[in-house]
Symmetry: C2
Subunit: 1001 residues, 2 copies
């Protein structure tokens, strides 16, 4: 059919549909109801909307009247006076003269009940009896259903197992009921062809360890439990649809579907469906692939096509990670994609059953007309809408299309709230079709426009943003994280490990003044997961080589200083480009030499690249003379110059990033570097030297001088020609360096500068209203990722009493679910610690923990490598050593406190002030933390690790460092001396006047 | 006469005048001439104009062909290609094929000769025979004359004496000639009434030590020599006019005139005139006063009224010093003032003879018509124009007005160049009437407009500048320097000294936690000019009082930290206001306690005020959270918080400024302070405590704890509760503090921060093309002001060989001219050093100087006080102790170098890197200094002292400090720890989007 003709038909049918339902508003926008009023407010007041969503989100955690009242105050204080009135509707206390606490309590109660009431509108039931009753009711009204159990986040296998159990119980209940139901349309099956029992399952909740990094493990983990559900569904001849969730799980979910559908057990059972999201840019291809697969396998499939419900978070996450945005960014693009994909499915109706899930009348009309045009039999497509929403649409649909299925969530209100928030979002988003059609009565013509046309118009209206540029450079952007959703990325890591493995065991010289220098004394670096695997043998500098390197640096210094900031920055940018090209190889070295998991290793290399890109721009910024004052007759400019020779003494835990950060800052500021890597990461240190060599850095500007601290450490620090020392490491060594550097030695021309970033004893506070789904994942990650070997790692979790039991239970189960093994295998969350010394140290602290508290969990570990058990200990108070001393390993102390104030006090009870985090949904508590949680990097509602260059300038104070912020705007200042050059420009009473002079008007 | 009628007549006469001279251009704009071409270029090309003026200025110093060629290259390289062609005109080498050095030499020679030729046009002669010849010639042409001897800057009394001698010789020459001249108009006197011999004298050149600060001394110093000239003038019945120079000498000059005119010796001799400048806002009043005085004294006077020739520098200086601009800022305002004042003089023609000095035809016409309207007799007014300029005007004038006198400079070309620059400026300034009338042929109507009308129009066109504001505060402005031209200011200092003297001898307690604390141990502070005068007796803290103060600070800390930056800044602004009100008293304390001269003391208090005003604004700036990155879904902010308790250990040499700077920075950043003043300035330290008390600073935030370093110094530095130490003082003590502070003591929670500003061994380089008039004054000031007791003081002057002899001769004579005595008497340039220890130390170094070099001058000193001789020693090389060690007293080492490169090398040959200065007019050498002169504060063509807050952030590196810049934009960072607070704002997949998010388009 001619597409214009079809489009006309679609538009006509849509208008008819509109007319047929005109005057009927969906309950949520019925302003007579409390919900309607609140939704109305939300649309008018963006701030209220945000606060309301957040309040709804936290509501299930507010178990006491005090807590509820306090949160209402915090969320809605300062807002328009009418807002509380709206919220209080139905409280029955307005004008009654009830005052004070009692009234507040009543209001709070009313608000809770109003919101819970609103939530319940979208849920088929909180228990099976209720659910069965309601399901029967909707079937009576002529609708089919699909039930989905609420509960999205599993932080442990025990939770995934519990989720599975819920499905089994639901199916048991349905089993009892369904036989008594007549099929819609009177036959045994609904409409003569569809199973009456229909469930939808969110796959990732069934496997708590699902992660795109571990594709195969995730597929298997999910498939195992899904198969159990499907087995039971099959027993009652039901239908199971695998829901589609976040983009990162999309390929895993598709793979699970293909495997289950084509498995021996189920390949003859057709009632297994999948969901595709039209808003994903991938979907055209995914759909085509899936149809081709079905044809090839000769397996009929069923696809529910939705628009997609995670648009905000997909976009935010992509932006935060530096990835391409996976979703269409214009709403009409998704609509157009939907119509395109619906057509493709309908064209393949012989092999693919279609579930059209949309509330958009244009979309529905398009599907109807397209199906008609393609002569698609009725039993090959049906319509689906959300339970509790868009009532007029569903009624209208039922009239016209007959086959309408309601998507009916079931289960506890707590996870229900998360669902409610997403639904509310959908309803009030500016672009929402529903809002437009019912709330704003936008013109029908416009609503019926072909979305492809809308897209073109909107594209034409969008103007490219003008981006600030620094000296012709694009604005700094963080290097993207590895996107493990891509198979090629996962493979690249494996390949790189293999390639690096082939290069193990070499001898590495020092590099001084561009020359390789070999020494008799050498050190072996080994794979901590398998100490018999030698990574490399590294020559070790003695004081003699330090002298050589100082001479090389002195020789290189004048020419290097004389280059312009732009020229020096150019070398860094070139080095960044080299590292970018070699990112997988550089990561693989870390996996093998220090036991970094792929994501951790890649993040480290990315951070190294970030440091170079950022400091290059920063140096260009500082390189511009800054005019001081505006006095006519003088030109006074503040400029910066290098301090002199820099000693960079680096740790092994961020073996490339921190080494590169300190070195590149020194270098770009004009200071030649003597770089001493940590022993266990000396080969990675050599790769840094190689990067700079390949970037063409002049000889002597960067000197690679690994060596034993006991042999050359003090000598380097005390050397009269060393002007600055950049050190990252332990507090003890830091103190030693600061002390040694403070003594002026004969021949020394300058006061030495020490930039020291030391340890931490970082706490995460769990408030009683914390979102535990997020908090537990983040605590586990902060405490145990890379074996807790980060100065930023969480080593204390401080939990307020009301939430303590629940948190601990979930935390320990979460920890128990983490697999431990070699970093090169993505199955494992945690690997070995760096060496035997580290292993012994951790074991020592585990003994201390045992003596000071109660060990809740101490994991088994593989044999062979330098593994240390993941350990959680409770009953810890600030007096304990385990609460005060940095362990630098996977040991987490749990501290129970009465309330948030005590949490803050305990958090601040150590000598360290590095990182910290708070999980709370109390605006006041977050504000208090902002003011009082005395750490260099404070994170609110996220973990304590993972600082990014520029976004999270990193570093602490007190005994955690000198108040330096790596990757921040003040960092380079530490590597330079400021100079003021003031020229008197007046000669013989005459001065040229500058534009920015403070001259007469 | 009706003013409109008069205005019409003026305009008509002006137009007639124009018509009469039409077609005649003044020689300088005659484009056929080389000068005309160059002037034409200057008008079209602002950059060329600046370079040309600067080149003309330096030309007399370019004594070798190489030097000349090099400067031509440096000044005119990179300019339009036509420029060199213009400059080379007349060189006769264009197109001759002569290349290389020879050609360059010829070009240089041609340029020099062209410029010298241009200069000579404005000079009546370089020697008396030439002058006499030319004077005769102009008289023959019908013009009278007044001769003025070029040479404006005297840096020593011997130079002033020489200038006097030149006048005497000129008068001798005139004496021989004038008898043979017939009076103009045929009678014995010119025009029947005017002396034939007429000279103009610039008064300040006659007394090298003239300074508004010492009004009476300046008047007497000038009067003495002027009287000698007048005596000789009187002998030959000549006329002497006292010229008017810069504004700062105006009142001195007027006073000299009145004294001479009314003196016993000359009150009956009427031929003594004065000059008034119409561009000064004071002139209406000055003229009225002068006329009233003449009437009261019954002494006929003569006034030459000029527009004024120092407009640029008067404006720049006022702006630089924070004073009201003394001149009219619209050109027409000066013109209008001129007409107004001319009228007033003409109205008083019975008592006042009028010299109308202007080239402006409107002005001339106005004077003519006004004189006519007032029936002023011819002999009561005459016209004056500059020799060598405005030839058509002078010819026209002669025709119409008959009585025209040419102002004829006489003397060496070297000072002549300065004169030439001023004349060139006048001719090419945009507003120049001459340029308009001859060079641009602007409409006559407009040129004849009544300037009062022009003023109104231009005022209406000027729009007020929008000034950047910080949190409602006006942009930072430096506190104005004391304006000693004002009698009230001079008196205020004297009164304040008397008032402070009445308060001497009190006992001063410590102030801890807002309470006075007295101790048994006390210290006496004395007047260094008179040690028997006790300034005060100061209680001395022991470790016990330090503990007390630490407790008070700890108690005050939380509340102080909790205040907003704006609130803390508010206290500083209040304190600044208090100091501003008490500025004379605070200065007087310094004069008596540490021997600071009034200007030095006032500058110190002003700097203290500046620190408070600046740091207040800086803290508000730093107080604003700085968003990091732009990631949607998170709000990441960099903020700063106080480090903790600060120990401020201050020096006595800038007793209020540095104490206040370090303390106010600490305080405004949120750190409570323990302030230990230096012993010799403890009472001044107490005044700081009083300022803060009066400003209402909460108790314990600022604790005044004077004490003996030997008793409590280390204790304070090592105290585990002290988080930061701000120290300004000697290198030795600095090293000790840095060492002690680096050791971590039990109970210590933080790594101590030391902000140290230490010593200097500052050099000023004198290049062979330096403007010695300026260089010598600045070197003397930098080396000996406040007795050289500044870390920024010049203690080495490095002179390149070609200029060495000339420089040294002038320098030593300049030094010899400086008077030494108590600071409270403004007669004295230099006073006593601070105490007997300082005196002994200086004497020790003078002995060392004597043993290492040749003492060129060592001044006598008064008896009684702690005086140390002002000493200049030559023959010093970098090996000498006197070239390496900081003396902190009035001892200047002179180092002779071969060339500029060696000067730079020697300048950089000490461990210190604090201040330095270069006097050079070579753009390349200035650039080299900018790059290589390794000091924290480098000054080009000005002295090495006198850094101002904001305009000149102050501080050095190497052994001069830690690279901290007091009064600069990075300073406060040192007093704070940075914190990053990053909130994950995404909840349930929904994040509020901020305006500056990196969101989709």
């Amino acid at each position: 059919m001619d597409s214009l003709v079809l489009d006309k038909k679609i538009s006509d049918r849509g208008k008819e549909f509109f007319a047929s339902i005109s005057g009927e508003a969906p309950s949520i926008f019925n302003k007579g109801w409390w919900t309607g009023k609140v939704m109305d407010w939300s649309m008018k007041n963006e701030n209220f909307k945000i606060q309301l969503f957040r309040f709804v989100d936290v509501l299930p955690y507010l178990n006491t009247s005090d807590s509820l009242t306090r949160h209402i105050d915090e969320y809605f204080a300062g807002d328009d006076q009418d807002v509380p009135k709206v919220l209080k509707m139905g409280a029955g206390v307005m004008g009654t003269g009830l005052g004070g606490k009692l009234a507040a309590g009543l209001v709070a109660k009313a608000i809770r009940s109003n919101i819970e009431g609103m939530a319940k509108q979208f849920i088929i039931g909180e228990n099976t009896p209720d659910a069965m009753k309601n399901l029967k009711k909707i079937r009576k009204d002529g609708f089919a259903f699909t039930v989905d159990i609420l509960g999205e986040a599993s932080v442990s296998e025990i939770e995934s197992e519990a989720y599975l159990k819920e499905y089994m119980e639901l199916l048991d209940a349905l089993k009892k009921e369904h036989a008594s139901w007549a099929g819609l349309g009177g036959k045994d099956l609904d409409w003569g062809h569809a199973p009456k029992v229909n469930i939808s399952v969110k796959p990732t909740a069934l496997f708590s360890q699902a992660s795109p990094k571990d594709f195969e493990g995730s597929v298997q983990g999910i498939e195992k439990r899904l198969a159990a559900i499907l087995r039971k569904v099959k027993e009652m001849n039901g239908f199971m649809r695998i829901d589609m969730e976040q983009y990162k799980f999309k390929d895993i979910t598709l793979e699970v579907y293909r495997r289950l559908r084509s498995s021996e057990e189920f390949r003859d059972y057709p009632h297994l469906g999948i969901v595709l999201q039209a808003y994903l840019k991938d979907t055209d291809q995914d759909l085509a692939d899936l149809l081709a697969w079905a044809r090839a396998e000769k397996l009929p499939i069923s696809v529910r096509l939705v628009k997609g419900a995670y648009w905000d978070s997909e976009t935010v996450i992509a932006k935060q990670n530096g990835w391409d945005i996976p979703v269409w960014t214009i709403k009409a693009e998704s609509d157009a994609a939907y119509e395109r994909q619906a057509k493709m499915i309908l064209e393949n109706h012989d092999i693919c059953h279609f579930g059209c899930a949309s509330h958009n009348i244009r979309t529905i009309a398009a599907v109807m007309e397209t199906a008609k045009a393609l002569n698609v039999p009725d039993e090959r497509y049906e319509f689906q809408v959300l339970y509790g929403m868009a009532e007029p649409v569903r009624k209208g649909l039922l009239k016209v299309a007959k086959r309408v299925r309601l998507y009916a969530p079931y289960g506890d209100l707590l996870p229900g709230m998360a669902y409610l928030v997403r639904r509310l979002l959908e309803n009030t988003a500016n672009e929402s079709f529903l809002r437009q059609s019912f709330a704003e009565e936008a013109e029908v013509e416009r609503l019926m426009e072909n979305p492809a046309v809308t897209v073109e118009r909107e594209k034409a209206q969008r103007k490219p943003k003008a981006e600030a540029e620094v000296a012709g450079l694009a604005r700094f952007e963080n290097e993207p994280f590895a996107d493990f959703t891509q198979e090629s990325v996962r493979q690249a890591f494996m390949d790189a490990v293999a390639a690096v493995r082939a290069q193990l065991g070499k001898e590495y010289p020092l590099v001084i003044g561009g020359q390789e220098v070999r020494t008799a004394d050498t050190l072996q670096s080994v794979n901590p997961a398998n100490p018999s695997e030698i990574i490399g043998t590294i020559c070790q500098a003695s004081t003699k080589e330090i002298d050589l390197a100082i001479e090389a640096a002195k020789k290189a210094a004048p020419a290097w200083k004389a280059l312009s900031p732009e020229e020096r920055a150019g070398y860094l940018l070139k080095a960044a480009e080299i590292a970018r090209k070699e990112i997988f190889t550089l990561s693989a070295w870390q996996t093998l030499e220090v036991g970094k998991q792929f994501d951790q290793a890649q993040a480290d290399v990315a951070e190294a690249i970030d440091f170079m890109e950022y400091y290059a721009r920063e140096m260009i910024r500082f390189g511009k003379p800054q005019r001081m004052g505006r006095a006519p007759g003088e030109m006074s400019q503040l400029i910066y110059q290098p301090k002199g020779i820099a000693a960079v003494i680096a740790p092994w835990n961020f073996p490339l990033a921190i080494s590169c950060g300190m070195s590149s800052a020194a270098i770009v500021a004009g200071n030649p570097v003597l770089y001493k890597p940590a022993g266990p990461s000396s080969v990675i240190g050599f790769t840094l030297s190689e990067i700079f060599r390949k970037a063409g850095l002049p000889a002597g500007v960067f000197n690679y001088v690994p060596g034993r601290g006991s042999v050359m450490g003090d000598y380097l620090v005390e050397h009269p020609d060393v002007a600055l020392i950049a050190f990252t490491g332990s507090m003890e060594v830091g103190h030693r360096i600061i002390g040694k550097a403070s003594v002026v030695h004969p021949g020394q021309k300058q006061i030495k500068k020490v930039i020291a970033e030391l340890g931490g004893k970082n706490a995460i506070i769990i408030d009683d209203d914390a979102d535990l789904d997020e908090a537990i994942k983040e605590v586990l990650h902060s405490a145990f990722a890379f074996q807790g070997q980060k100065c930023s790692a969480c080593s204390r979790v401080i939990v307020v009493e009301p939430i303590y039991a629940k948190f601990i239970e979930r935390l320990v189960e979460g920890a128990r679910s983490l697999a431990i093994g070699p970093a090169e295998d993505p199955t494992y969350f945690m690997g070995p610690v760096v060496d035997d010394k580290a292993q012994q140290n951790v074991l020592k602290y585990i003994d201390i923990a045992k003596s000071e508290g109660t060990v809740l969990y101490s994991s088994p570990v593989p044999a062979g490598g330098y593994y240390a058990p993941l350990t959680i200990v409770e009953g810890i108070t600030p007096e304990h050593r385990i609460a005060q001393e940095e362990v630098f390993g996977p040991v987490l102390s749990v501290m129970k406190v009465k309330n948030f104030d005590q949490a803050m006090e305990w958090a601040n009870s150590t000598r360290y002030s590095l990182t910290g985090a708070v999980f709370s949904r109390s605006p006041k508590h977050l504000e208090k933390a902002r003011e009082q949680f005395n750490v260099g990097n404070l994170y609110l509602n996220r973990g304590s690790t993972g600082a990014l260059v520029e976004r999270h300038p990193f570093g602490g104070f007190n005994m955690s460092g000198v108040g330096s912020k790596a990757g921040g705007p003040d960092y380079l200042l530490q590597f330079m001396d400021p100079r003021l050059v003031c020229e008197n420009t007046m000669r013989r009473g005459f001065a040229p006047i500058e534009e920015d002079d403070d001259w007469i008007i």
